[in-house]
Amino acid sequence: MAHKIIFKPTFILNLKQQFTTTTTSQTHNISHCHFLHHPFFNIKIRPISLHSTTPITTTAAATANHGGYLDLTDDDLMRQCEMGTFKTSGPGGQHRNKRESAVRLKHLPTGIIAQAGEDRSQHMNRASAIKRLRSLIALKVRKTVDLDAYSPPRELLQILPPKSSIRGSDIGSQIGPNNPKFAMGMQALLDLIFAVDGSVSDAAKYLGLSTGALSRLILSDDSLRKEVNDLRASKRIRGIYWYSLWAQIQ
């Protein structure tokens, strides 16, 4: 199974299929000395780095699904990250009172960076950043899909609206964007949409939905909509927006 990380729809990199066991340097969730040599504080978006061509550090059990990052607990995911704050100058510590509790996480296996700074405590910002990282991993880490033998994974079925003809009654109620499990469904949905080159109507057929119903699902989450529209733009397909959907309904 090919694991791909896509940073732009047109820019696909294959991660090496070489998995090792977790190294000790990545099992600490506290900053390391090597971290000192990574002054990435001022960079908003870091371009894809060499990390993506080095072996992915993950467990064998997790390889079946996009490197398994979204299957990890928050603590385990955190261990794959470098954490930094935004203090760029000054001695810090007792010298400072600026309540700079913003947190930046860099997920080492993929190079994805997530940050959060809106809360009063570093602790809470860390939790927000992890949540954001999960969503970014879902958006950016792709798996190739064999369309001939396609069967949507359970986590994708869970985010589909009940009217989907392939969604069994055992799937439970629909999971929305506010549910933490939405990210995994979104990841699988994007795999499918990338496999059909951004065609929402083709993807809808595989999911037993009308094009309008799948469009509505895509529009329910801003980041999902943006990712799909970026792909469509790269394929020179018109984006999906509420107003165009509205025009269809009318």
Partner: protein, 363 residues
Amino acid sequence: MKLTLTNHNFSTLLNSSFINLTRPFCSLSLSSSLSSSTSIKPQVPIFLRPPIYSTKLNDLKKWHNWAKNIAFSIGSSFVQSDNGPDSTILCRELKWFIEDVVENHHSLFSQVGDDNEKVKMRADIEELYCLWKQRIEERKPFQYIVGCEHWKDLVLSVQEGVLIPRPETELIVDLVSDVVSKNEGLKRGVWADLGTGSGALAIGIGRVLGDGGKVIGSDLSPVAVAVAGYNVQRYSLQDKIELREGSWLEPLKDMEGKLAGLVSNPPYIPSKEIPVLQAEVGKHEPRVALDGGIDGMDALLHLCDGADLMLKPGGFFAFETNGEKQCRELVDYMKSNKSASLCNLEIFADFAGIQRFVIGFHR
């Protein structure tokens, strides 16, 4: 704000503060060694006060606009004078201020409401004017204005006379948590936090220790001991954390060679840097918690003796420093003077990448 008030003493204490906010905390049941501190009245943070004040939405909006305008007028002038807060930071603080003061702050300015509608608040509108003035004109730290600091997943009470815990120091709790997760003996042992201040480290560590584990928090300042006592009560850790008043090792004479762990965020700023500190720090926080003597190392060197004397074999220590050079000097000092007792010395960086902590073990 979620609060778990299982302790009866503390709920009585809240009820009594409902009637009179300035009433002393006579129901605080701290250890008997605190006789001199019982006269000190810890202030109740705004977010814990009852919402007994009622203000017209319009008046609150007026105050909010006034406060916001002042914040904007500051621009970057504080940044230029002493690397203080800029307008953006002040506006963020204003938002947090409202969160603490107004009972139902979520829907406050979003809905198109009647301006004569009453808003329930935890402080009087006049007090809000006065407090924001103090924030801007006197550069009083925001944490002293609202009476609390969010630190790790805790909300700790702070007031003038007590050092405001810094985000960097959170890492010491993570380091301790790491160590005790691998060593059951240390997890059940007695730890000490010297110069505990608001009690942040003592409480953080108290919550990662196992059954039987204890923390002794000591501080020279009676105000700090009273505030730490308040925080310990609020997190129902009075059975696990004991507070003692006194200077450094002095109140721990009975613990020689018995401690499983020793932590401290001692004063470490060199004396000559105190006058040029950011005003919020230099003009308001207790000098005794900041000033570490000529090279900032006075307390840290004393703590080395403490680690040597107080820790039991295999015991762990972690100290916060001024960073970089001070870390290296501290390690050098330990290597040349304490190598018979202290080992596995390591320097750890904080999240900003500054080498901040020295950790190690007793042989």
